[in-house]
Symmetry: C2
Subunit: 393 residues, 2 copies
């Protein structure tokens, strides 16, 4: 057995995440490890909390990164906020709504599903109806930015409806944080989780969350213990809180260096400018795709700039397209999931990856491979279209 | 708000972990991020599994890193193997036995505690008695290397007793993997978890686990769903298994680069040589400590070479000692926990950190600070003692 050190190929990551990581973040990952209770580390933790509050636009004291990927951030919200027997309205319009249902049920809750077609946003009227028919519901959960379809739902409106019916909300912001407008305090979101590897340009493995005072009250007044010891926020706060820090688990030191650097860069750019940059490059990408004759799955008003679901042209094997892009161009884009498998490809423009170089490279590569696969597209237009979009925008 | 990039101080990590990380591992952490389903990444995952099998000395197919710190590895074993209502014998002789009890209870199990004094190993006779008195027990759980006290228990014997009574065992090997002899197949351990940040010289954040076929049978035949979606091994195996890989959660790509490099280094050195190196430097450290007149908490036969619990000399404020070592020498050592707070300090010699430079530096620094604090120790002996131990050994 002679296994050599692993030297990964250098890819351009334009799938649903992880997205391209900024070199500054990668460099930060390699800084010398220090202890998880080192005074210098605790200063850094406080800075991360402060910068996450900025990213989430909140003053919530409980705004921290969970020491595991986004799925664990989701689970943190559900196992802390759902008590056995409680009814939770789950809005599902893609993969992640289904995962929320699993989380509710495994936490002993009862999930009432509000289903919308994949590729469309959550319908506020359906939520309103579900709440009228389930007056004993305690929580509403929905996905702000569905990574599986590229759809944005109206988080502000859905939260407002939930509150009117006396429910707290849990919001999945894995793909939205840093990429589109998200205002936790202004919209009065109660609990929200995200991922480090999407629009924050950081490596995967951490899940920023933010929990309101109202939600903390519910957690503190639970009748049963949180079923997960690792994700129990009552315990996690002993380490991430404001008083003397007590050991709970050993924090992932170096990945937190990376997150700190990514958040420092977000501050330097400015949150609104980051949102605008995602929009800007989306316009360029869309322009190029449409010039080629490709169309997008989601209607314009509900489209996520950072995750574009593109219809696969007739006769094209999407798996072949994707593997050629990877092998010949080192370009990763995403596949469709579930009912959309084979029907869409997903192009991410997230964080550092939302830049003109990536947009133009992606358009050129797709045009080249599709032409070679004899797909029915317009050729020779991709770069021109992208360039003019860049100038116009 | 102007938060600058974080440049950590360069510490020498000789506490209970994280331990010093090898520069090769840090460098690996900064390699370019690729996708979690990239064919190149899947090759690397397979290599990690193979190298973890070597480290654990097992052929178990389910030998993988959990995408979160050691506490999540512990929780993975308990939530998958404990079904509601099942009785679990938990041997506790330190902090981590107590944490196991929490895990059993939160998984709906009934914990029967076998208590031994902190600083002593688990008594096999007590386990035998507990099993005789609890014929309905399904599982036995114990800690191989108690990080809170520096005690080693006889994992082989405890496993044998458990099996004789028809129980499966769950073993905590967070601090033992790579540091002392551990033979999962030979000792017939059913489920075991460790941490990346101890004797593997890697950064914290990952938890290698290994699960036997017998334990997998139990998991597959559960009557209830595993309560954690994120840690459900039935789902995780869809991603880490041998067939076509399905997305479960987004793996922490760069930390896995680090683990791959750390495991490659373990292979290069050889597992037995790594165990011997830990023993070698422990002898040097012990020699120096004893020459100074300091004594160790744990009796020689049960001592962990990689984690030394040293009695605080009379009249010495251990917090002051530790903070002076950190501030004046950039040297981190650990505090006592629970009933041992203030009574012991913990000196780790783990992974890459188990080297002569660290041993001598630590002895010199402790001697210097204790002398300055007017502690009743012999002075002028530390380095001589360490040097002679190094030569003798």
């Amino acid at each position: 057995m002679k296994i050599k050190p692993f030297n990964p190929p250098v890819r351009t990551l334009m799938g649903p995440g992880p997205s391209d990581v900024h070199p500054r973040v990668l460099t930060a990952m390699a800084r010398p490890t220090i202890g998880h209770l080192d005074p210098a580390f605790i200063v850094m933790m406080d800075e991360i909390k402060q910068m996450l509050q900025y990213a989430f636009q909140t003053k919530n004291a409980l705004t921290i990164p969970v020491s595991a990927p986004g799925s664990a951030g989701m689970e943190t919200c559900f196992v802390n906020l759902v008590e056995p027997g409680e009814k939770v309205i789950v809005c599902a319009n893609g993969v992640f709504g289904g995962r929320m249902k699993e989380n509710v049920e495994r936490a002993g809750g009862v999930a009432v599903m509000v289903e919308d077609a994949w590729g469309t946003p959550v319908d506020p009227n359906k939520l309103e109806d579900a709440l009228k028919n389930n007056k004993d519901a305690k929580l509403v959960a929905f996905v702000h930015a569905e990574t599986s379809t590229g759809v944005q739902s109206d988080a502000k409106k859905l939260t407002e409806i939930a509150h009117r019916h006396g429910c707290l909300v849990i919001v999945d912001a894995v793909t939205s944080l840093g990429g589109i407008a998200l205002k936790v305090d202004e919209w009065e979101i109660d609990a929200i989780y995200s991922g480090s590897q999407k629009c924050l340009s950081c490596t995967p493995g951490l899940s920023p969350i933010s929990v309101s005072e109202r939600a903390i009250e519910k957690i503190k007044n639970r009748k049963t213990k949180v079923q997960s010891w690792f994700l129990d926020l009552n315990l996690v706060m002993g380490y991430w809180g404001t008083g003397k820090r007590a050991y709970h688990h050993t924090a992932p030191i170096n990945p937190l260096y990376g997150l700190h650097e990514a958040l420092a860069m977000l501050q330097e750019e400015g949150l609104e400018k980051s949102w605008a940059r995602h929009q800007h490059h989306y316009v360029a990408l869309r322009s190029g795709l449409e010039a080629m004759g490709l169309s997008l799955l989601v209607k314009e008003s509900a489209r996520l700039p950072q995750l574009n679901a593109v219809m696969v042209p007739p006769g094209v094997d999407d798996a072949k397209l994707r593997s050629r892009l990877l092998e010949e161009y080192n370009l990763e884009i995403g596949a469709g999931l579930g009912a959309l498998a084979g029907k869409i490809i997903r192009i991410g423009l997230m964080g550092y990856g939302a830049n003109m170089k990536n947009v133009m490279y992606c358009l050129e590569a797709i045009e080249a491979v599709l032409s070679d696969m004899r797909a029915p597209i317009q050729t020779g237009v991709a770069m021109n279209a992208a360039q003019s979009a860049a100038v116009l925008n």
